[in-house]
Subunit: 310 residues, 2 copies
């Protein structure tokens, strides 16, 4: 069994490669839910939906989120009713949020709803939300504590990052199956997702970090920082705000206490010795998933490297 810890776009694209290299039924994705937020009273779980839409082949490739060729008629009308419209939710996408909200109000857990959606989209890998308990990633800034979506989408990452707070973390447990999956996996792969808010929120859950330290699985991470900058999203601002070096080395330091293999891009080959000095072996390869071939190549390289590391 291969376990992938994933955030949104980077995680979903990495998973696309993995499920073409390993039978999907042998893959478990553990997905960040720290970005979840209510919009218009509906529960939106952006990273779960990005993973499902991407693997189902219906994602809007241009954005990396949402459903392809979607319309925005509901939101346009809600705007007429005075609602904010900074978080774009297409009409077909809203059906997912309406469905999820209905099921949650009917007493289903996020795990159950995620599994139902997975099945409805015809996917055979296992997808687990990181937790069935609410954890809300907030960014401490000079204008106050902002929900991650407000920081990133509404205010376009313009505020200085002074800290990250996972609200609700103390009361949260990993979702059923998460720790077992980490313990029983052959390999645990940390997707090239934001190490602070996508992977970081999963690692912050009670027991996750300890389980990764103790598991017999080979743990590999792919750096989302290439050539000193993230391929997408605000990982640089968040890492810098928390005093991390914005580099593959900085990412490796976030994971050093449990990491067996660090996967970095050829552009960053010079960082390999410094990363190896932290403990993990280093795999230098092409990590930029510019097309399907590149996704398959990266997944194959990472999995081969894990097999060799055993």
């Amino acid at each position: 069994m291969i376990v992938v810890l994933a955030g949104g776009v980077g995680g979903a694209r990495f998973l696309q490669g993995v499920v073409q290299v390993v039978p999907p039924a042998e893959v478990t994705a553990i997905v960040n839910t720290g970005d979840d937020r209510q919009f218009y009273g509906l529960h939106v779980s952006p990273d779960i939906d990005i993973v499902i839409y991407t693997l189902a082949g219906v994602v809007d490739e241009r954005h990396g989120w949402g459903i392809r060729d979607d319309t925005y008629h509901v939101m346009q009308q809600l705007t007429r009713y005075g609602h904010e419209d900074w978080f774009l939710l297409g009409d077909r996408d809203l059906a997912t949020h309406i469905h999820r909200s209905l099921r949650l109000r009917q007493g289903r857990t996020p795990s159950e709803v995620t599994d139902e959606l997975r099945r409805l989209f015809g996917l055979t890998l296992r997808i687990l939300p990181m937790s069935d308990d609410p954890v809300a990633t907030h960014i401490q800034t000079p204008v106050g504590l902002l929900h991650f979506q407000e920081y990133m989408v509404k205010r376009r990452c313009m505020d200085e990052v002074q800290g990250v707070v996972f609200v609700g973390l103390e009361q949260a447990r990993p979702a059923p199956g998460v720790l077992e999956a980490l313990r029983q996996a052959e390999a645990v792969l940390l997707a090239p997702s934001n190490p602070i808010v996508s992977i970081g929120s999963i690692l912050a859950l009670p027991g996750v970090r300890e389980t990764l330290q103790e598991t017999s699985a080979t743990v590999a991470a792919i750096s989302p920082i290439v050539g000193g900058a993230p391929l997408k999203g605000p990982a640089d601002k968040l890492m810098r705000g928390l005093g991390c070096e914005v580099s593959a080395l900085g990412v490796a330091r976030c994971y050093a206490d449990f990491l067996d293999v660090m996967v970095i891009d050829q552009q960053d080959a010079a960082l390999a010795p410094a990363i190896e000095a932290l403990g993990p072996r280093v795999l230098v390869t092409d990590t930029i998933m510019r097309d399907n071939e590149a996704k398959i190549h990266l997944a194959r390289e990472v999995l081969h490297s894990c097999a060799r590391a055993v």
Copy 2:
């Protein structure tokens, strides 16, 4: 002040005439909410929305409900998730239900939400839901007790009507302002809406019928039955099921205990003596609202007749 008791399409069209004859600020509509139902966890209030959309000029004239030129992308996606789609909710229309559901969950009352929507659509008449408490009109049939929308929309009125039950009625009170409006009005007009399930639900609320019997207002009703058949909807099936004659006379009997003026179509002029024998004066006029002129004409005739009746 003119008060209009209204259901959906017939009530909304009659109100269109009234607000062109009387300043809208002097009109209060009391609207049936017995047809309300949850769809996909969202609170849908069909008659309120029909009245608002119609008076705001955005209604889909072809159906009489919904917003003109709306799309059905959310519902199409919900259908893919296994949901029923027998009650058509357009995308822009769904924004209303999302907004209403959000407000109700935030603790607002149906009256408050109705008034907010009225204002958002730029309307200056007063619109009151009949009650802030849940009342759900059900039809007793050989296949069991069906919610009115299931009886009418899902099963297309195919079941024999054995009775009508307003579930929740015992615990329901008229919405704030309803009884006061009936007491203080110059005229109370019962729109040409279904006498059993649209007007009947309002009349069934504690105190409404008694207040109509006691009010100094002139109370007039427009028959929705013309030439022995309803212009729209299943009023004939419901009346027959409850043992009422399907005619303007049958409608007049439903209201006889408080009615001052019964308005019937020219086609039904021969019924005038029998109706007058019940008590009310009869106004014979053209009641079919085929265009805006006809709506204005009907409203003017009804109001003149009320003024004469004082």
